[in-house]
Symmetry: C2
């Protein structure tokens, strides 16, 4: 069992795995006669292969238990996958570099601060969406098209939060059975 | 001056112009062993022309005055443009059908309810982002690439809110000069 304490997510630490989507660390320019700041091109959207296209979807996820116990990571070899919280949800991000095997020493765990989204580069190994504390709603930008685009790799990982961080999951009543 | 009272946004009324991005009116399937509902493929992302790609950006917009007075609509002939509120912001949506000219009788004005995003089809005439009441933060999915992709068409439009709806714009201090 690999034991990891989640670290605060930063663009530098996450760079090998993809993009942090966060206007606070991004450049902008003004549009709309100065009314709007455009934080431009914050994530590399990858849709590889023939007949591929970009999808906009919404994921509504039940919160995870903490410590988070994982039995596998997954990857999407043909496309990137971006998650942006729609109500400042915080979530855990567990990743490993692209490649056929997962080297335990290279697995990283991060915790977002509620204003951050992430974009996993095509092929980056990652945990399923792991929202903290409450049901979460995320805008997701990923790939549609032909060809298998999801692999799983078994690995046992246990992720804890930094000292002082605590989330007690609360399940919404309508979804208590899912 | 074209005078319009904004109507509540519905997928049916907006269908000629694009997509309403809203899980409440969309189908889903379960993923992640039942933990997540995926509301799948909610908007048609269009990136037309050579060397085009999908962008993920964030727009931070100052609120509009209401009634909203417009002098032009704009369009992006080579790509769709999606706006999804990141903090349940409400906004006005003013649109006209694709085509070289804007027929005043075909202009429509809508107001969102805070849970709705929109995706303008490539070529749909629309107002610049018009958030109500407070500074708004929107995830934007649109097109990058070669070629001109923004036209403006002059038209004078005045948009009011339905009776009982009122928003007093509040400008954030840090952006009072923009």
């Amino acid at each position: 069992m690999l034991e990891l304490e989640a670290q605060p997510l930063t663009p530098k630490a996450f760079a090998p795995f993809g993009d942090v989507i966060d206007p606070r660390v991004s450049d902008y320019f003004h549009i709309n006669a100065g009314r709007t700041r455009r934080y431009h091109d914050l994530a590399r959207v990858e849709t590889l292969g023939e007949k591929a296209h970009t999808l906009i979807s919404i994921f509504v996820s039940q919160p995870v238990e903490v410590p988070l116990e994982l039995r596998f990571l997954e990857r999407h070899p043909r496309g990137s996958q971006a998650f942006v919280p729609m109500h400042e949800e915080r979530f855990l991000v567990v990743v490993a570099p692209r490649g056929e095997a997962i080297e335990p020493a290279e697995v990283r765990a991060f915790v977002t601060d509620g204003r951050q989204g992430v974009n996993y580069r095509a092929g980056t190994w990652h945990a399923i969406q792991s929202v903290l504390g409450r049901e979460g709603e995320f805008l997701v930008v990923d790939r549609g098209g032909e060809g298998d685009n999801c692999d799983e790799h078994p690995i046992d990982i246990r992720v804890t939060l930094p000292p002082g961080e605590a989330f007690a999951p609360t399940h919404s009543e309508q979804e208590s059975t899912s």
